[in-house]
């Protein structure tokens, strides 16, 4: 099966990295989470209710909606903070990419371990810029908010194509498709990974820095 892959790019200040990542990851997860399944007899199941919550960003002029699940939020924040720390340790003009991958487990026979087959990958490329003064920061605050809004629209557009989704599993298969470890919601099985790319040559990064600064100066 083909894995659907979507790439989103954002350019943010260092202090905006966390909220931008949370906004986009939670938006995807909102669409990729359901209520808890309760299997009944005869193979039917009922689904719990997913609540939602508005989150205002402090460093970006933006509000996003996430699933009302503190457990899920904690796990996402943990991953985002690791990414953020890695980015900041890599250098001031770091570039990085955080990926949210939805996968299915395919049981293999012994001695092979289970396969993880991704069916959708969201990659968020991040360019971190340093801004010189408060005026630029203020412009950045609003511009990044607008950009995030566009990204949310992109996410929604992709998701509403209603392309491949794993079949609803039977009770025995549910753990191959969904993460059932949370007590209030049930997202599809996912994993978050990241990579820091600091391999750009100086000239390229200087040019990029200048381009970004020029854009913000407009």
């Amino acid at each position: 099966m083909n894995c659907r892959s979507e790439v989103l790019e954002v350019t943010v200040e260092a202090r905006q990295v966390e909220e931008a990542m949370l906004a986009l990851l939670h938006t995807v997860l909102l669409h990729r989470s359901t209520g808890k399944f309760h299997y009944k007899k005869e193979g039917t199941y009922s689904i719990g209710t997913v609540g939602t919550l508005d989150i205002d960003c402090d460093f970006i002029d933006f509000t996003f909606v996430r699933v009302s699940s503190e457990e899920l939020d904690r796990m996402i924040r943990k991953a985002v903070n690791e990414f953020k720390d890695a980015l900041s340790n890599s250098g001031s003009d770091g570039m990085g990419q955080i990926s949210l991958e939805f996968y299915q487990k395919k049981k293999s026979r012994w001695p092979f371990s289970d396969e993880c087959i991704p069916w959708e990958v969201w990659s968020i490329k991040v360019n971190v810029v340093n801004l010189a003064n408060e005026q630029e920061r203020q412009i950045c605050l609003e511009k990044v908010g607008e950009k995030l809004g566009e990204k949310v629209i992109n996410v929604v557009e992709v998701i509403n194509r209603h392309e491949y989704l794993p079949k609803m599993p039977t009770q025995s298969e549910v753990d191959n498709v969904f993460d059932t470890s949370l007590k209030d919601v049930q997202p599809y099985l996912y994993k978050i990974s990241y990579q820091i790319t600091d391999t750009l040559g100086t000239s390229v990064s200087t040019t990029m820095r200048r381009l970004i600064k020029d854009t913000l100066a407009l």
């Binding site: 359901t34 719990g48 009302s68 929604v156």
Partner: protein, 514 residues
Amino acid sequence: MDGDLSLQDKKDLDKFIKFFALKTVQVIVQARLGEKIFTRSSSSPTGSDWFNLAIKDIPEVTHEAKKALAGQLPGIGRSMCVEISLKTSEGDSMELETWCLEMNEKCDKDIKVSYTVYNRLSVLLKSLLAITRVTPAYKLSRKQGHDYVILYRIYFGEVQLTGLGEGFQSVRVGVVGTPVGTVTLSCAYRTNLAFMSSRQFQRSAPITGIIVDHFVDPPFNSQRPPTMGHPCNYRAPDDEEGGPFPGVQDSQEVCTTSFSTSPPSQLYASRFSQQQQPAAPVSPVAPGTAELCHPAANANQMLYPVKEGGVASSPAPPAPGADAHLADPAPNTPCSSGDDDGLSQSGERHRDERRRSLTPADPLEFLNTFTRKVGAFVNKPNAQMTTGCLDVPFSALIPRVLESDDVDPLVHPPDSPPCPSPLQASLHSESSEGSGQQEDFVMVDFRPAFSKDDLLPMDLGTFYREFQNPPQLASLSLNISSQSMAEDLDSLPEKLRIYEKNIDEFDAFVDMLQ
């Protein structure tokens, strides 16, 4: 075809679409309430959470939605629309966005209703939750309160997007195919938020700054629960006692009242303000007649001393120094007659006459060609007027001009006091034959630009006069600027000593700021 769909499926599909429509309205309206929404997840399913999403139902909103649907369902050619608009405390309103739930003919026969369609509708609702926070109206709705409120209106039928102004944008939230058609949810939102752009019945806050108290009649009461930032079409489910306002149960009613016109006086002013003349040569124009008078025409009229109120005439060539637009002098009459509306002799100088009259190049010629005409903007002849001086109209004006400070700051930015305006100086020099017949100069109202004549008419004029020639700033006067650098340096130790003495105060101040 419906025949392919089992009866149960058809029933289910209708129910899904109906509740989807109701939930859509709830999501949109709740997203415009002005505050953050929070609902809990629940692992045990409750029977009432449609689409497995916790979306509260505000009863009024459901009521409005059901009323709009009137038992029908969104279908082909029958769209359900939620219109979000903004209404200011002054009564202006503007449509911000229109959310449309439409159905088209494209059917997906193979899709399973009770399973796939339901789940996809659930995803679509989640998308709606996300997108409602992204459109520009969200930020506006979060800031609603004192100056404006956000209103909604639900209607069914044809989509109306004309109220969104030019250049509106569209965003598609999503689509769900069903066996009877494809459900599409989209939003068209205004991008041009300039308020005064094209509304016919705009407010017009008087530009003079004589402002009707915005908060005399606030659109909502401060006692209102903070969740409800707007008129009481919808209130929190637990707010049973109702808002402090008489309930407007019908959202459409609210919307129609939001289009109330401004009071007539403001309409005139609004016309006036839309007819902005260039600031400098703006003549004191009676409200309501602005569109009829042109500065150049006024310039013609200004030059003539007043004989009696009424018609000014003489299409003498306007002075080159006057306004560049050569307008038809015919508007004299309307202008003058317009002045009959409540103009009163104010004792103000007819500054505009003088100001607009001539460049230094022409005065003599003009004076020579002067004939006795009736001036504009005068309805009561000045008792001081005599017939004798009219050959040299500016003779009457000039002495007064030189004596007083009355230089219109818009045309002649005040120079330092010793130096009269160039126009004054030139008039004086050119019109040496002026005989200082002060009693002949024309007393006409000074009607400053942008003033309304029905509210304290002379406030602005008084202001102009008082502040036309402010005293020179001390720091700009010559004697100070000629202080040498050496003197500055000499004074530094003294200053430093003083600052050090007060160092505690400064530290306390800095601490206060942190």
